[in-house]
Amino acid sequence: MTDYSADTDESLALRSTTDHDAFGALVGRYEQKLYRYVRRITDASHEECEDILQEIFLKTYRYLHNFDDSLSFSSWIYRIAHNETISHFRKRSVRPQTIREEDGTLYLQNIEADMDIAAEIDTKALQQQIQKILDTLGPKYKDVLLLRYLEEKNYQEISDILKIPVKTVGTRINRAKKQLHQSITEQGLFITP
């Protein structure tokens, strides 16, 4: 069995067109990350997430020659994951999006840190309130927030994943934060100046 640990994702992607094991190594690297991502952007069950994940990797394999090496492989495969998940749920009229219990803490910690929300107030209550507010945001705002604060992607990566200009990523994040800020203030939750 070849050891691919020293290879970058990009070089593995190039080798994968002729080397199944190299592709297997890529699947190994992204299996968990993408499973988590699919779970985060949908309310799909474990089995459904696995089906989607399989579709994602098979599509990645078919489209290996379309990999644009000016992008990072991570952004490219996340883009495929995002699009495949969307098209999987297109059969339903809406893509259900709720923040899962297990993600809540990390998500909210990152948002709170970014928005300077005071730490001294009741964190649990605040998190519940923020979670409720986040659930009311539109999918285009939720998608960028999720990639920024849960997947911890930078603006350029989000731009490449969602295929929108970097400037639009910034605008959406700022608008989402503004909405969040407004709702928090209206509900009497304290935010540091």
Binding site: S16, T17, H20, F23, G24, V27, G28, E31, E50, L53, Q54, F57, L58, Y61, R62, Y63, L64, H65, N66, D68, S70, S159, D160, K163, I164, P165, V166, K167, T168
Partner: protein, 261 residues
């Protein structure tokens, strides 16, 4: 079975292979080639608009319209404008679908497409493409050429004292009267233009097959079936439109300057 093995087995059992690179290559370069074609077509529109604008009868616009503004509005080549706008929109959409097309903001992309079309259009106009397109359309389909060049309709209003057309014959009737037969694709029949010594002629004279513009008045003669038009001023059709000196100096039209050859 873990998902990794499941995927590798599916690839193996279903003989799944990566889509050949040339298909993506064709898609990528096909989109850029289409962008190039759309840019050129849009630029043809710009070149035609610029050409038609420069030849828009600026020397006689006061005879055609009430003001410069109404003249511009009534003779704007709307069909070319529509073609240009459609090509611009398609170009925008096409570039948006290229590999990195998403990374440009809508405003940047739109102005880049607009700027490139206008720049190339001006370039094509300078090398004479606008004129060439107009000539081809006029020759290919004279009856519909006015749709691309509204000037042709504006110049085909004998009841308002303006006529244009191609000279098909010249007859000298007497020492003071010459009859010119003019064909206008937008008007019925042949028009007889009456030329007298007081008629101002183009400095280069008039030849058969020349296209001319005539300012004058329609003669309503019930005794003849001929369409007659009395010429005060005959101007070449293709002109940059410099206002004639006599008009600039607010003088009366000069007498016959040069005999018709």
């Amino acid at each position: 079975m873990d998902i990794k093995q499941k995927i590798l087995d599916t690839i193996k059992n279903e003989h799944i292979t990566p889509i050949p690179a040339w298909k993506f290559f064709m898609g990528t370069y096909g989109l850029w080639m289409l962008s190039g074609v759309l840019l050129i077509l849009g630029s043809f529109g710009v070149a035609s608009i610029v050409f038609l604008f420069t030849k828009n009868d600026w020397d006689i616009y006061t005879e055609l319209s009430e003001s410069k503004f109404t003249h511009i509005v009534s003779t704007l080549p709307y069909l070319w404008l529509a073609i240009f706008v459609i090509m611009l929109i398609l170009l925008y959409v096409d570039i948006r679908h290229t590999k990195r097309g998403y990374s440009y903001t809508s405003l940047h992309l739109f102005f880049a497409a607009l700027g490139a079309s206008i720049l190339l259009g001006f370039g094509l106009h300078v090398i004479g493409v606008g004129q060439k397109i107009d000539t081809i359309i006029t020759k290919t389909d004279p009856h519909y050429a006015h749709m691309f060049n509204p000037r042709l309709r504006a110049l085909s209003q004998p009841e308002k004292g303006i006529l244009m057309g191609k000279v098909t014959n010249i007859e000298t009737i007497s020492s003071t009267t010459t009859r010119m037969y003019v064909e206008n694709p937008l008007l019925e029949g042949t028009w007889v233009v009456i030329v007298q010594p007081t008629t101002i002629l183009p400095p280069s004279g008039i030849q058969i097959q020349d296209r001319i513009r005539v300012l004058g008045e329609e003669i309503k003669d019930v005794d003849t079936a001929e369409h007659q038009f009395f010429a005060h001023i005959i101007l070449p059709f293709d002109t940059l439109g410099i206002e004639p000196g006599w008009k600039r100096r607010n003088m009366q039209p000069p007498p016959l300057q040069r005999p018709i050859r």
